[in-house]
């Protein structure tokens, strides 16, 4: 009997909280987001206006795309392994990736930056380290027949962070660099 008396406030309170924290809060935030930050709130999609005036979408600047051509900046291995970094399986995978890089860019004898031979946490890391971009600059320049300085400048343009010089790490957005290399984003 006593617990029945408690049941009503429990149910009504839960219903009200659902209305308040579920419906009202979410709707207001969504409205504000669409009003204030429409591009960010909808996935940071990169839209390019082509020469003939049509608009074309090239995916999200926050989600990695697959690049395999020597004329493009290549990102991190796709997918998530969840492997222990010290395991034999991991060692084998990393060695395969090292071999891939050496056959992809045979003339390059520099040490490969770690992020190019390890999988990320999201599986779709859109960034590589500045060192990983520099490692590829000469190859891209040769494949495109442009001065390496030009490639470096574009990489520099699309390098961000760390925030306030302290928070997080510097990062190069692979898709943006490649769009700029193709003349689709301002370089």
């Amino acid at each position: 009997m006593k617990s029945m008396k408690l049941l009503r406030p429990a149910l009504v309170c839960f219903a009200l909280m659902t209305l308040l924290c579920g419906v009202l809060y979410t709707v207001v935030i969504t409205g504000a987001a669409q009003l204030l930050f429409p591009n960010q709130a909808n996935g940071s999609i990169i839209t390019v206006t082509l020469k003939d005036g049509t608009k074309k979408e090239y995916g999200s600047e926050l989600i990695a795309q697959e690049f395999t051509g020597p004329e493009y900046l290549v990102g991190r291995p796709a997918g998530v392994t969840n492997l222990s970094p010290t395991s034999e399986e991991q060692k084998k995978l990393v060695e395969e990736r090292i071999d891939w890089w050496h056959s992809f860019d045979p003339g390059n004898t520099a040490d490969i930056p770690m992020d190019l031979v390890t999988a990320s946490a999201s599986g779709v890391d859109p960034n590589i380290s500045p060192a990983a971009a520099e490692y590829q600059a000469a190859r891209i320049a040769a494949a495109r027949n442009v001065p390496v300085e030009e490639v470096r400048r574009i990489i520099q343009t699309y390098t961000s962070g760390p925030f306030l010089g302290v928070i997080g790490e510097p990062a190069v957005n692979v898709l943006k660099v490649n769009l700029a290399l193709d003349g689709l984003l301002s370089s």
């Binding site: 979410t26 504000a32 990393v94 060695e95 090292i98 599986g123 302290v166 689709l184």
Partner: protein, 560 residues
């Protein structure tokens, strides 16, 4: 390396700087004083009480308070369970998700009601938008608010003298939701959206890739609003499967820093609120310092292991371990986060914990195994720590042969029974769960890694669920009938047994007289006490878990 250290120091300084004023604010809110939002929110608050048919200043006995908590949580559990099962027939489901299996629905409902937010599914391929915001977002709010409510019931137990009541759960729940969680979530949501966290009801976006022209799906949804409260309420359940490692959930170093701060903000502020509420700021500071010592040691240990215990490969530049880490976070922000999310019972991740170095992963595991009291969950972290404080006072009392007292209240056998329930339920359930999983047939097929690291995946899973954390060594395949059912039961037990014990402890404390501190009274606000408290916490944690850790991460470290 120096930048990582600076980043950690900046984090701690800002955390302390924000937690002090917020702590005063929370104290005022939870003791019914006027704050700057009162003018706007008081009418809403009154309206809520009226519709509930609750009298705002109705005082509840411990039994009634506990029953209200349990009934309210049961209502939330049932609603979410059903919502998950029938989401396929409901609107706001642009990707046409079907209802989940009964065992996944059970596990997920238990997980979110218990503020654990363990996830045996990936949101973007399993849940409809409606389920996310109407089911999960709501539990993110109210499970956290329940934690604060119960904490304040305990605080009243210390403050009140010869009273039989602890205040009203409905008032505590409503006030903490309205005045604390909703306003803070608003601010954090907008900050996150400005950085690129998505917030829309529109369907997933199809795009063609630049080089190959192949189609790519960009998952969307009302994410930012849920992510804000997932961090502020120490919930931790990701909108997307990859949680805060996923760029659309955590796109920039700035969004990462905001989220990391949001995780510890309220648990740290509550130490300050506690000091104010018991009219003795030193008591709050003592607990704050104790927690901070554990936390700082954990950050240092995790960072050193990730930076210097990383494997080296022929032909690869020497660096910290980058497997399972995002470039923008690197070793520094990933290690900081690993300590933050397991110190608090948050459990969101910005790096894959399965790919942490053996000892880095052990730091996260051990922080959970200590019982989620190093800041811990919102409310639950501090009430768990207060149980350890009582245990310490009791042990010290035994050593000198005096009746132990805390805040002027004698600590007696009934109180110690409740303390034992609070302190021992998590380690017991962690070890029983791990043992059951290890001996169950087919366990090996759930693992990604082999050997000692494979055992670590199981130990981590049950440390996480049995301490209401929710993070995972994600190589562990969680969506099985066995783990869903056993884990779901464990998460509920480990949330509601200690919580009920706290409420009855509070009820018993409130009935006592206050005794004046005498010459022989043990000071609970000096350096000696901090040392004693750390000792007791470490002894309980180490005695419970050293054997298991030796088989998992420690063996992993020495054999690879």
């Amino acid at each position: 390396m120096s930048r990582m250290v600076l980043q950690d120091i900046l984090y701690i300084v800002i955390l302390i700087g924000l937690s002090v004023p917020l702590g005063s604010y929370i104290y005022k809110v939870m003791t019914g004083q006027k704050v700057f939002l009162t003018r706007v929110l008081a009418p809403v608050e009154k309206g809520i009480y009226r519709m509930m048919g609750a009298v705002p200043d109705e005082e509840m006995s411990a039994k009634k308070y506990a029953l209200s908590v349990l009934l309210f949580s049961a209502a939330g559990f049932l609603f979410l369970f059903l919502l998950l099962l029938i989401q396929g027939f409901l609107p706001l489901n642009p990707e046409g998700m079907n209802g989940t299996s009964w065992h996944l629905a059970f596990n997920t409902a238990a997980s979110f009601v218990s503020n654990t937010n363990w996830q045996a599914y990936a949101g973007e391929s399993t849940l409809s938008y409606l389920t996310q915001f109407l089911g999960l977002t709501v539990q993110n709010f109210v499970s956290a608010a329940t934690g604060i409510a119960v904490l304040f019931a305990l605080i009243r137990g210390f403050v009140l003298k010869q009273k039989k009541t602890l205040g009203s759960f409905w008032v505590d729940l409503t006030r903490s939701t309205l005045y604390i969680f909703i306003p803070l979530s608003f601010v954090v949501s907008l900050l996150l959206i400005s950085q690129g966290v998505v917030q829309t009801f529109g369907p997933y976006h199809e795009a063609a890739m630049l080089e190959t022209g192949a189609a790519q799906t960009i998952p969307l949804g009302p994410a930012a609003s849920q992510i804000a409260i997932k961090q502020l309420g120490t919930n931790g359940g990701g909108f997307f499967g990859m949680n805060s490692a996923f760029p659309l959930e955590n796109p920039t170093p700035f969004s990462n820093f905001i989220q990391a701060l949001s995780i510890l903000l309220i648990p740290a502020a509550l130490c300050v609120s506690f000091g104010k509420a018991v009219k003795n700021g030193k008591q709050g500071r003592t607990i704050y310092i104790t927690m901070m010592i554990f936390f700082a040691a954990a950050i240092a240990a995790a960072t050193v292991s990730e930076q210097f215990a990383a494997p080296a490969f022929q032909g690869v530049a020497v660096s910290g371990s980058m497997e399972g880490k995002e470039v923008i976070h690197g070793v520094g922000a990933s290690s900081l986060w690993a300590a933050v999310t397991t110190a608090a019972s948050n459990g969101s991740v910005n790096a894959m914990h399965d790919s942490l170095t053996p000892l880095g992963g052990m730091v996260s595991m051990f922080l959970m195994q200590l019982g989620e009291i190093v800041f811990g969950g919102v409310g639950s972290g501090l009430y768990g720590m207060l149980a350890f404080v009582l245990l310490t006072v009791f042990i010290a009392g035994l050593m000198v042969g005096r009746t132990p007292e805390y805040l002027g209240k004698k600590v007696e056998p009934f109180d110690m029974k409740m303390v034992c329930l609070i302190v021992l339920a998590p380690p017991l359930l962690t070890l029983l769960g791990t043992a059951a999983a290890v001996v169950s047939p087919g366990a090996v097929s759930w693992l990604t890694n082999s050997g000692a690291h494979g055992f670590s995946e199981i130990l981590y899973a049950f440390s996480s669920m049995a301490n209401n954390n929710g993070s995972a060594f994600a190589g562990f395949r969680a969506d099985t009938v066995f783990t869903n059912v056993l884990g779901g039961v464990i998460m509920l037990l480990v949330r509601f047994i200690p919580m009920t014990a706290v409420i009855f402890l509070a009820g018993n404390m409130a009935q006592k007289k206050t005794v004046a501190a005498g010459e022989g009274t043990l000071s609970t606000s000096n350096g000696t006490f901090v040392g004693l408290l750390i000792g007791v916490i470490l002894i309980i944690g180490a005695l419970s878990f050293l054997p298991a850790l030796a088989l998992g991460p420690i063996a992993d470290f020495f054999t690879t």
